[in-house]
């Protein structure tokens, strides 16, 4: 397949994990701040939405990563903006997978304290993904 088509595919595919993980964080944070009294159904709904968007984000990250590796000719580090992109990307990718696995295993059995640690990790992941996306954009637009 032509490289410019892979580049366009990467540009499209990479937005799915970014958007889905961000929305997942928003749902989970929303669920965290919903009052307990009389709001348990809403909290459970937000947590479920956070769970499914995270799992979809983690799954879609495979396509984004694979297309990215293809357009960089197998380069997993590089230099300049590519290295900056990878500096944030690899920890973000690892964290997204780890967060999805953790939630798949724990389900609804997470204690309040454990879920707060999870939320902190997910916010860090979101920040890392944003930084990776920023440097990916710089790479395309400014070399």
């Amino acid at each position: 397949m032509n490289n410019s088509l892979w580049i366009k595919m990467h540009g499209g595919m990479t937005h799915f994990p970014i958007a889905l993980v961000m929305v997942s964080i928003a749902f989970d944070l929303g669920g965290q701040f919903v009052l307990e009294n009389g709001e348990k159904t809403r909290r459970a709904g937000l947590r479920a939405a956070g769970f499914y968007t995270l799992v979809l984000g983690a799954l879609s990250s495979f396509g984004a990563v694979a297309s990215g590796i293809i357009i960089s000719h197998g380069e997993i580090w590089g230099r300049g903006n590519l290295a900056r992109h990878h500096t944030f990307l690899w920890p973000a990718f690892g964290l997204v997978i780890a967060l999805a696995v953790w939630r798949l295993v724990v389900g609804n059995r997470a204690s309040s304290g454990a879920f707060k640690i999870y939320l902190t990790a997910s916010v860090i992941t979101g920040a890392l993904m944003s930084a990776a996306g920023y440097w990916g954009g710089e790479l395309l637009l400014n070399g």
Partner: protein, 131 residues
């Protein structure tokens, strides 16, 4: 042991394995590129002589082109958002300056990303793009 801690250990192990696998298959994924411009030129002209020996300067330039330039100039270098790069009538020095300094409002600067060797390889590749 609590379920959260067991899940965290499992998550770290699986995440590590996924990263390890990703890095392991990266060379294979990197080889999934389709035909580059020089191959398309060869097919068009019927010329079976390689335009650049594998691993040569032009070959390295093609790789750099696909990573840095194909997004705007097209995978076949015949233009997309940017112009075609076939039959360039500019001198090597002028091409090098354009790559390094860019063109305000039209093309980004690559001077901080590509060194002189990279630019020389890119120029060697661009010189193979003739109709």
């Amino acid at each position: 042991m609590r379920i959260e801690i067991k899940a965290a250990i499992l998550a770290v192990v699986i995440s590590g394995l996924v990263l390890e696998l990703t890095f392991g298959i990266a060379p294979f994924l990197g080889s999934l590129q389709g035909a580059g411009p020089h191959r398309e030129v060869q097919a068009k002209t019927g010329d079976t002589k390689p335009l650049a020996s594998p691993g040569g300067q032009a070959e390295q330039g093609r790789s750099l082109f696909e990573r840095n330039c194909a997004h705007c100039h097209g995978g076949d270098a015949r233009g997309d958002e940017g112009p075609t790069l076939f039959n360039l009538a500019l001198s090597d020095a002028r091409i090098a300056r354009r790559i390094k300094e860019g063109i305000k409002g039209e093309m980004p600067k690559f001077g901080s990303k590509l060194n002189d060797m990279d630019i020389a390889a890119l120029i060697a590749y661009l010189r193979t793009l003739n109709d």
